[in-house]
């Protein structure tokens, strides 16, 4: 009966460490947030489940030979999964509002201050001796402020793999919290009169412009920032498949079957990085607080940039659409719309906010490229 004894000794209860137990609880919390609070469930549900699975004592699902190990090694470490997701996101993105009003790109640029402000915050925390972040860690943490999941995961997998779990969780959680985080900042930085500014209807953008746009972005990336080529290249590829209209079946698969499959794997793979060793420490608290700061700073600089631009341009823009520059597509644009409606119930800002919103995606991919080049 020593085999029976072995079974008991192998049981989870007998081997459970406090760290694993805590991580399983954290996994369950993520699942709870995903299901009951609708926090980005497409990612947080698989991440939470992966967190539980990888922390089951003795199951070894994250060890060599285990399913989560294969998923993580094939798709996360190589950067393949985030890039395929980005292709799918590209195939779902409509650049029409951006092309109709290209100066909103500056709002998307300004909101990236959230990224780099956070880098400085992380270095300051380190200089205070609270945590121990290298500059690479700081850069990876800053990308949380890009409010763009795949970009965060891609950068973290290159610059700070051991922080990947915490960074991904922070990024998706704060993206889900955008409707709570942004409105107070937006209201504090704008006057009632500014919020009531109505914007003229956007012009119709021709199919040709939409087809040329991804190729132009690709050209600029190739000429000026090759380190952003994987992210923006796949993004533009997805978008070109959509807008060209000649490969609808590929575009459809990129948006659906392929993207869903990769999302499941990406979530499980990120979850498998959630080990107590890397997550249960003061650095994670630092990451979570810095991530929140990143979102707040990005929101603020986006709004302020809009106000600044209004000093120079004739037809003023409503500063509320500046906050959409942080990305979190399309949540942040909806927040702009909602806050706008509170000030003026005839003021529909949604389409106007989509411009800076997708600009923010391009902006954080550019920022990611700079960082990858800086440390390359």
């Amino acid at each position: 009966m020593d085999k029976f004894q072995q079974l008991l000794l192998d049981s989870g209860l007998a081997n459970l460490e406090f760290g694993q137990f805590s991580m399983m609880i954290i996994g369950l919390v993520l699942i709870y947030l995903a299901i009951n609070k609708q926090f980005e469930p497409l990612l947080l549900l698989p991440i939470g489940f992966g967190t539980v699975l990888v922390n089951i004592p003795g199951a070894g699902m994250g060890d060599p030979g285990g399913l989560l190990y294969y998923i993580s090694n094939i798709g996360i470490s190589t950067g393949v999964f985030p890039l395929l997701i980005f292709m799918g996101v590209g195939a779902m993105t409509d650049f029409g509002p951006l092309l109709a009003n290209p100066k909103t790109l500056f709002l998307g640029a300004a909101a990236q201050f959230g990224i780099f402000g956070t880098v400085i915050g992380a270095m300051w925390m380190t200089s205070m001796g609270w945590v121990d972040f290298s500059l690479q860690d700081a850069a990876a943490i800053g990308i949380i402020g890009g409010a763009d999941g795949p970009t965060s995961i891609f950068v973290a997998s290159k610059l700070a793999p051991e922080l990947l779990g915490a960074i991904a969780v922070a990024a998706y959680s704060y993206m889900a919290l955008v409707p709570l985080i942004q409105p107070p900042i937006m209201k504090a930085l704008t006057t009632e009169a500014e919020r009531k500014i109505t914007m003229t209807q956007l012009r119709v953008v021709s199919k040709r412009e939409k087809i040329v746009f991804p190729l132009m972005v690709l050209f600029l990336v190739a000429m000026f920032l090759p380190s952003a080529a994987p992210l923006l290249g796949m993004f533009c590829f997805g978008n070109l498949m959509k807008e060209s209209g000649v490969v609808e079946r590929l575009s459809d698969t990129a948006q659906n079957a392929l993207m869903n499959t990769v999302t499941i794997m990406l979530g499980l793979g990120v979850g498998s990085k959630m080990s107590s060793e890397y997550f249960l420490n003061v650095e994670t608290l630092g990451i979570l607080s810095l991530g929140l700061v990143a979102f707040c700073v990005g929101t603020a600089t986006g709004v302020l940039m809009a106000k600044f631009m209004n000093l120079f341009i004739k037809i003023p823009i409503n500063p509320l659409i500046g906050s959409a520059g942080v990305s979190a597509v399309p949540m942040a644009a909806r927040v702009s719309n909602k806050v706008g409606l509170q000030a003026n119930n005839q003021n529909f800002l949604l389409m106007h906010a989509m411009g800076p919103n997708v600009a923010g995606v391009v902006g954080s991919a550019v920022a990611a490229g700079v960082m990858l080049s800086y440390f390359g």
């Binding site: 951006l98 092309l99 290209p102 100066k103 790109l105 500056f106 998307g108 640029a109 990236q112 201050f113 990224i115 780099f116 402000g117 880098v119 400085i120 992380a122 270095m123 300051w124 380190t126 200089s127 500059l135 700081a138 850069a139 021709s206 199919k207 040709r208 412009e209 087809i211 040329v212 746009f213 132009m216 972005v217 600029l220 000026f224 920032l225 060209s244 209209g245 000649v246 490969v247 079946r249 600009a359 391009v362 902006g363 550019v366 920022a367 490229g369 700079v370 960082m371 800086y374």
Partner: protein, 74 residues
Amino acid sequence: MSDIMWDGVSLMVMGMGSVFVFLALLVLGITIMSQILMRLPEVEVVARPQSRNSDEEMAEVAAVAAAVKLVHQR
């Protein structure tokens, strides 16, 4: 200010600089492109009639096949 803070500031200057320069180039590019494209004659880029992909052609073939079969079975 400590060295590592300076590293952060340097990364920020470089990063935000690149982001603004890149997106400014993009604004410029979009504006030029839109101007050019709007002045070009209104050619329908994607010519539908003679432009069906192999799927649609397959569907046509299938439709013809079905019709033939139907006729034949009568």
